[in-house]
């Protein structure tokens, strides 16, 4: 722990200068704030010994650097010591045949003079059990079945049934993914993709479902490449090493390498061992007997792992491997790759080269011929380079680069060029080809003689000191595995490390894991700091129980499912969470002795999964690539390239379990973030539980909750029939897995009646709202359909993407005149009459009403454009070209709302906007006479119509989507309330 080094690092002593040393200042007690030791003063002689020592340069015996001294000064945490066999106490009030867990728990309660609380109501218990084991609620039928027979046998059978469900693995995986800070992107500036990371996630789900023994579970992740027999698809498990953040442009590459190793070290030591070894990177651990030497000795086990690199689908890639590929499949993949590269290059060159040459000549126009000639020569050289290197070269040479070429292309050319360029850049070059192989993120050792590991002064890569060799912290009561025999290769080192971590005698691994499972079932672990079993962690509330569980777990063959069974069949687990014992509340308000269960708020994933479960929408597909639920525009807008790393929602995206939502480090969906999912940066074994107003707003007003309420109401109406009483009952059943009591039923029915009355005859508005910020990532755009860019009111309205251009740094912006629009489908004509009031969201820059809209993509028609930013009204005609027909000033700037009347007959358009005393504006001589439809566009922010009517060729056209009945709206309202209730969000 202590060395001169550490004292200097900690600013405690300045060797050679006692007067400037904090230590001396403290023992002299010259400053009031700083007096050491705190309780008594050293005598003058003692102080002068210290002063002399500092003035002599504070020498420290070199052989004492490390654990020896630390061990003397810092207590060894209990969890570092071997797990001693311990028998459940027999003399407790729980009785001799009590469940072993209850024997321990009751014994502690007995000592405190407390009595265990009553068992939970069977309905509460079954709901708790479902969430704990599957992360999903029970149906009311399941609840009632258990309530009818809550016997121990029925309970045990139910436990087995739930453990056998695929949903169990999904629930368990989420917890582990927090621990290993799972993410599918790299973080840092570009936050690039970690391709195929989801296979690791699926491997974890499968491992829990198959009850892969926990020792094999860890071994596969640490060294599955070296021990493929340890688990199914063990190489995929080594994706564990590739989940961390990665800086592709580090300030100090050598230091970044050690940051990456540090990240792995922390995840292993905190995640698997519950020891904060990472704290000893720069100096000896201050609170635990872990020295800086221990840190680097531990690091040496995996010092030679190939660092993360840009993932390329290559056989030699350090981070990607085709798992289980046959020679034949690989040969096919090679052939396809070569063909594809050639094709893409040809396409790209054919498209860009002529434009590129033209730009070059334009740029060189005024230059001296000799200079121009040199530039041309360099340009020709650039064309010889692979495309992926060309851009950088051109940039360096100050020659027109590909971005400028793209500016000069026509719209359609540009689209094609972007697609190709984006593919080249995002997929890592023309040669990159995934094919049909099953690629996974994997670990790999560097070739050749292993790199030596040196102790680094203050953790700085630039300050290597003496060499350290693979070992484990001596304070942990299990000798390190024998050093690797073959010095010429690092192969097998991680296997040795794994064997130490999963050794039956490792005091930490089983304790840490049983504690995590305990926490899952009781909200708080026996050790409340599951990633820190050291001196700074909290002491175990029931140390003997922890040890007993750990031994039992190892005896049971490291079976996690068996551990679940053991815990959830205890009385302690099955107790009521109600606090009805005033004395217990007084003596043990934190309930650390477990006189009752703990109520828990649903975790973020459970909140969204339960909503989908209630509404009947949940898609239970197991595994597969991650999905991208709709990300609100406001959230996308926070990115420098909005939409980067994300995509418009896939078909089932928002109906899958939250486990399958892509984890993009730089873009977390609001529900996960609001409901306290930890960021995937550091290993995280616990989650906060916050209560905030933005949570309330999200569940009340958000799109996700609103859609679930809609679907739930639809389901209730379908299943319960028309009687309101039946509907209220069914809504409770589906949302809360119980029937309402009479008072609740009455309140529900009353709500339905009132809401139905309030919305009856209520005029409806039409809303048009952009779904994306003004600029979006070009890849996002490429995958987007009209409805992903502009939200139309539904019914007869359909969104068209329109045209996007103005590429800037990988983003596109909507064309002002031909951007996304909502088109009224199926109603064509030549003469239009529109009347209605337009309401603009704050900041809306403009709105277009398009008459005779002929072609959704090219957006032909007569456009009445309200330019709110400049207070102008512009009339445009649009066919292949856009032509301005008229411009009127005097529109109010930044208006909140405007009444608008339009009449288009033949070549004459009359317009009344707002109160126009001077009479209508008239435009004559229009040439765009082709019949068409009616369309609406909005710029920047949203737009609503109220009281709108439209006639086309004299026919009155309905603008509103088909109305839901007021009864149905009322039912949806009730459903939304239930999904927001405390009962929905909390487990008893």
């Amino acid at each position: 722990m202590v060395s001169t080094e550490s004292l200097v690092n900690d600013y405690v002593v300045l060797p050679g200068d006692a007067d400037q040393s904090l230590l001396i200042e403290a023992v002299r007690r010259s400053t009031k704030d700083l007096a050491m030791p705190p309780d008594y003063a050293l005598d003058r002689e003692e102080v002068s010994v210290l002063e002399r020592w500092v003035n002599d340069g504070a020498p420290w015996p070199t052989e004492s650097v490390g654990t020896k001294v630390g061990a003397a000064n810092i207590p060894t945490p209990r969890a570092f010591r071997p797990i001693e066999p311990v028998a459940p106490p027999s003399d407790t009030t729980a009785g001799a045949d009590a469940h072993p867990i209850d024997a321990f728990v009751t014994s502690a309660l007995d000592s405190a003079g407390l009595v265990p609380g009553p068992p939970a109501d069977p309905r509460e218990l079954v709901r708790r059990l479902y969430f704990d084991l599957t992360g999903l609620p029970p149906t009311i039928e399941a609840v009632e079945r258990f309530a009818a027979d809550p016997s121990d046998d029925a309970y045990a059978a139910l436990v087995n049934e739930l453990l056998a469900r695929p949903a169990h693995g999904e629930r368990m995986a989420r917890q582990w993914l927090d621990v290993v800070r799972y993410a599918e992107s790299n973080g840092f500036e570009r936050d690039g993709d970690k391709p195929h990371a989801w296979r690791y996630r699926d491997w974890v789900v499968g491992a829990f479902n198959e009850d892969l023994s926990y020792d094999a579970f860890l071994t596969a992740q640490l060294a599955g490449d070296e021990q493929p027999e340890v688990a199914r698809d063990a190489p995929i498990a080594t994706g564990f090493w590739r989940l961390g953040e990665w800086d592709d442009e580090p300030n100090d590459p050598q230091q970044a390498l050690f940051d990456e190793l540090d990240d792995s070290l922390r995840t292993i030591t905190e995640g698997m061992l519950g020891v904060t070894v990472g704290c000893a990177r720069c100096h000896d651990h201050r609170f635990d007997p872990i020295s800086q030497r221990d840190y680097f000795s531990f690091l040496d086990w995996f010092r030679n792992v190939e660092p993360y690199a840009e993932p390329q689908h290559e056989l030699g890639s350090p981070v990607l491997t085709p798992v289980g590929a046959t020679d034949e499949a690989i040969a096919d993949w090679r052939a396809d790759r070569a063909e594809q590269a050639e094709r893409r290059r040809a396409e790209f060159d054919a498209l860009l080269e002529p434009v590129h040459r033209r730009l070059l000549e334009e740029q060189l126009a005024g230059f001296d011929p000799a200079v121009a000639e040199r530039a041309r020569a360099r340009f020709e050289r650039a064309l010889e380079l692979p495309i992926e290197e060309r851009r950088g070269y051109l940039l360096e040479q100050r020659l027109p680069n590909i971005d400028r070429v793209l500016h000069a292309l026509t719209f359609l050319e540009r689209q094609r060029a972007w697609v190709t360029l984006a593919r080249i850049e995002e997929e890592g070059g023309l040669g990159d080809h995934e094919g049909d192989l099953r690629w996974a993120l994997t670990v790999r050792e560097r070739e050749g003689e292993p790199l030596p590991t040196h102790l680094l002064r203050r953790g700085l890569a630039s300050s290597p000191m003496e060499r350290t060799r693979a070992s484990t912290p001596g304070a942990i009561g299990l000798p390190a595995p024998a050093a690797p025999v073959d010095p010429s290769s690092s192969q097998g080192r991680r296997s040795l490390l794994a064997s130490w971590i999963t050794d039956h005698a490792n005091p930490l691994t089983p304790r840490v894991w049983v504690n995590r499972i305990w926490q899952q079932h009781f909200g708080v672990g026996l050790v409340a700091t599951p990633d820190d079993f050291g001196n700074t962690g909290t002491a175990a509330s029931h140390p003997e129980l922890l040890d007993w569980l750990a031994s039992r777990f190892v005896e049971d063959g490291w079976s996690t499912k068996q551990l679940h069974r053991l815990i959830v069949t205890s009385d302690a687990y099955r107790r009521s969470s109600r606090s009805i014992d005033g004395r217990a509340e007084e003596i043990d308000p934190a309930n650390s002795l477990l006189w009752r269960q703990r109520p828990r708020r649903l975790e973020a994933e459970m909140v969204s999964d339960s909503m989908l479960f209630a509404s009947g929408e949940l898609v239970t597909t197991l595994g597969g690539p991650s999905v991208h639920p709709r990300m609100p525009r406001e959230v996308l807008a926070g990115q420098s390239r909005p939409g980067r790393g994300w995509a418009p929602p896939e078909h089932d995206a928002e109906r899958r379990r939250a486990l399958y939502v892509r984890v993009q480090r730089g873009l977390i969906d609001p529900l996960s973030q609001l409901f306290d999912r930890p960021l995937p940066t550091l290993p995280s074994g616990t989650r906060s539980v916050t209560n905030t107003a933005p949570q309330a707003l999200h569940l009340l007003n958000g799109e996700f909750a609103g859609s679930r309420a809609y679907a739930l109401a639809e389901r209730v109406a379908r299943e319960a029939g028309p009687r309101v009483e039946d509907q209220v009952v069914r809504a409770f059943e589906l949302a809360l897995s119980r029937r309402p009591d009479n008072v609740e039923l009455e309140a529900g029915v009353d709500h339905l009646r009132r809401i139905a009355l309030e919305v009856e005859g209520q005029s409806r508005s039409l809303r048009f709202e952009p779904r994306v910020p003004e600029r979006i990532d070009n890849q996002y755009f490429e995958q987007a359909e009209g409805a992903d860019l502009l939200a139309a009111p539904g019914g007869p309205w359909r969104s068209a993407a329109g045209q996007w251009g103005e590429p800037y740094n990988g983003t596109l912006a909507a064309d002002r005149e031909r951007g996304p629009r909502a088109v009224l489908e199926g109603e064509l004509g030549s003469d239009f009459r529109f009347e209605g009031t337009l309401h603009f969201d704050r900041g809306t820059a403009g709105a277009d009403l398009i008459l005779r809209a002929t072609d959704q993509a090219a957006a032909g028609g007569v456009i009445v454009s309200l330019d709110l930013a400049h207070g102008r009204l512009i009339v445009l005609e649009q066919a292949t070209e856009t032509r301005m027909v008229a411009l009127f000033a005097g529109l109010p700037i930044a208006a909140d709302s405007l009444p608008v009347e339009l009449a288009l007959n033949g070549d004459r358009l009359t317009i009344v906007v707002g109160p126009q005393e001077a009479g209508p504006l008239v435009v004559e001589g229009l040439t765009q006479l082709q019949p068409g439809s009616f369309a609406v566009a909005t710029v920047k922010e949203g737009l609503e119509f109220s009281g709108a009517t439209l006639t086309i060729d004299g026919r009155s056209v309905d603008l509103l989507p088909p109305a839901l009945s007021s009864e149905r709206t009322a039912l949806e309202s009730l459903c939304l309330v239930l999904l927001n209730s405390n009962e929905f969000l909390w487990l008893d």
Binding site: R641, A693, L700, G706
Partner: protein
């Protein structure tokens, strides 16, 4: 109530407020938070000017994303002008030393006020306020990449996942207004900063200290208004009230058999707050309540006076600055305004022409910031408000582009983490020029300070001792200023 704690020791809201008060009083948080450091770092014991500690109740951080060019704004270097066109060796990236051509500033500089501080003609309105500013010219940072450097400036770490300064301040000092978040972030209309939401994250400290994005257009906060597909959008106000009433009733019934559960009560309360927030957020953003003179002061009312087609003019940032003042009045603890969003010339990232970049962005901020300082001063708010201005790093004294094929107005400057300027103004700040870069403005040489010292300074002014404002996570008492020694910058403290 059960204490479902994240990590020991987590603090309840009440604890937080208590700690806030303790911190403000300059008492040790270490004991209270369970930290057991044998010795406090020396910085805790140094005598700092007593008058400056805790003078600021609130803070506005004007973040110039992209990295403004110090030698074209505040860091006047006659030598740079004189040696324009000469070739020097410049380390552009760590270990990457190249022959580069010096690019003199095209700006003319003048000294202003009693402090005689230099400012270029790029900021004619702001230069009238030089006597309010403490310009720190000798900062340096750890990364030349935007994504990492912006995070460094915000959270003290170059990677994401760590609490930002606003979160730390919110955590340390709590909120003065229950109906508005304690840490508010507003973006440039062109987009967010690189590395996005990590820049207003609360990292591992509880989510209530997360920066809340406030929007100048559309709905002010996410979900403040119902989504288009949410039925509440179409419900009359009475019906929405009915919903909240039913929710309250159901929650009360649920609570009745769980009387001790304060967490359930708190959750019900969060709905009441959410409702109140709908009004308070809109009200805070409602600039129609401001008079014409004020709007003019911030450059909001006039049409865009910028020459460059990419420039947005002064109105957008002026609105944000005015909103920031309104948020200060309402007790929001920490407001961070981003100027510049997206990439390259959309930000201060002047690779492709520093003159062009200045002509786009200076007119956007000049009147708004000058207006903000005047307005805070005339309303008395400046006495208790700290204003921080700056970006994630500075720029190079040499031309990045150039070369024989390049047109002159596109001469750009690359990133420079080794020396850059920021300024502080307001509560507890001693105006004047502080620190120096070398003769070209390239590298901080006199009174060099890393970013953590700037963080320590801001916390100090906000009444928080940086070494005591800690949160235990992953076995460490984590701090905004990190594990290395940090000190408030004494030279800028009143």
């Amino acid at each position: 109530m059960d204490d479902l704690r994240t990590d020991r020791p987590s603090l309840s809201r009440r604890d937080l407020l208590t700690h806030g008060v303790r911190a403000a009083a300059g008492l040790s948080l270490l004991g209270a938070l369970g930290g057991a450091g044998a010795f406090a770092a020396p910085s805790a014991l140094r005598t700092l000017p007593a008058g400056s500690f805790g003078r600021a109740k609130r803070c506005i951080f004007l973040f110039m994303f992209g990295g403004p060019s110090q030698m074209d704004l505040f860091d006047y270097k006659p030598e740079l002008q004189a040696r324009d066109g000469q070739t020097v060796d410049i380390e552009r990236r760590v270990g990457d030393v190249r022959k580069s051509v010096i690019l003199g500033s095209k700006r003319s500089f003048r000294q202003f006020g009693e402090t005689g501080q230099w400012c270029s003609d790029a900021l004619p309105h702001l230069s009238a306020h030089m006597d309010r500013l403490a310009v720190i010219k000798s900062l340096h940072t750890d990364s030349f990449a935007h994504g990492s450097a912006v995070l460094k400036m915000n959270s003290g770490e170059i990677r994401q996942g760590f609490p930002c300064m606003g979160s730390w301040v919110s955590y340390g000092r709590g909120s003065e207004n229950d109906q508005l978040p304690g840490f508010v972030v507003m973006h440039d209309p062109r987009g967010g900063p690189i590395s996005g939401p990590a820049n207003w994250s609360s990292g591992f400290i509880p989510g209530e200290h997360q920066g809340t994005l406030l929007r100048a257009a559309g709905q002010p906060l996410l979900d403040l208004a119902p989504a288009a597909s949410n039925l509440r959008r179409q419900l009359p106000i009475e019906a929405r009230e009915e919903q909240l009433a039913l929710l309250r009733t159901l929650n009360e019934w649920h609570q009745a058999s769980r009387p001790a559960r304060t967490d359930l009560r708190a959750r019900q309360l969060s709905y009441e707050l959410a409702r109140a927030m709908q009004d308070s957020a809109r009200e805070a953003l409602d600039l129609e309540r401001e008079d014409e003179e004020t709007l003019r002061l911030y450059g909001i009312s006039e049409p865009s006076q910028a020459d460059h087609p990419m420039s947005l003019g002064s109105a957008p940032f002026g609105r944000q600055c005015l909103i920031a003042r309104r948020l200060m009045e309402r007790g929001v603890r920490f407001v961070q305004l981003y100027h510049g969003g997206g990439h390259q010339q959309q930000t201060w990232d002047a690779h492709h022409g520093v003159e062009e970049n200045l002509s786009i962005h200076c007119p956007e901020i000049d009147r708004p910031i000058a207006g903000l300082l005047s307005d805070l001063d005339r309303t008395g708010l400046l006495d208790e408000t700290l204003v921080v201005w700056g970006g994630e790093f500075g720029r190079q004294p040499v031309s990045q582009s150039g070369g024989e094929f390049q047109v002159a107005n596109a001469l750009g400057r690359d990133h420079n983490p080794k020396g850059f300027s920021m300024w502080l103004a307001g509560a507890g700040v001693a105006p004047g020029s502080y620190g120096e870069t070398d003769e070209l403005g390239s590298e901080a040489v006199v009174n060099r300070h890393p970013v953590r010292d700037l963080h320590a300074t801001v916390l100090h002014l906000m009444g928080l001792r940086h070494e005591q404002l800690t949160y235990r996570y992953g076995g460490l008492d984590r701090k905004l200023t990190g594990v290395r020694e940090a000190h408030p910058i004494e030279g800028v403290l009143a």
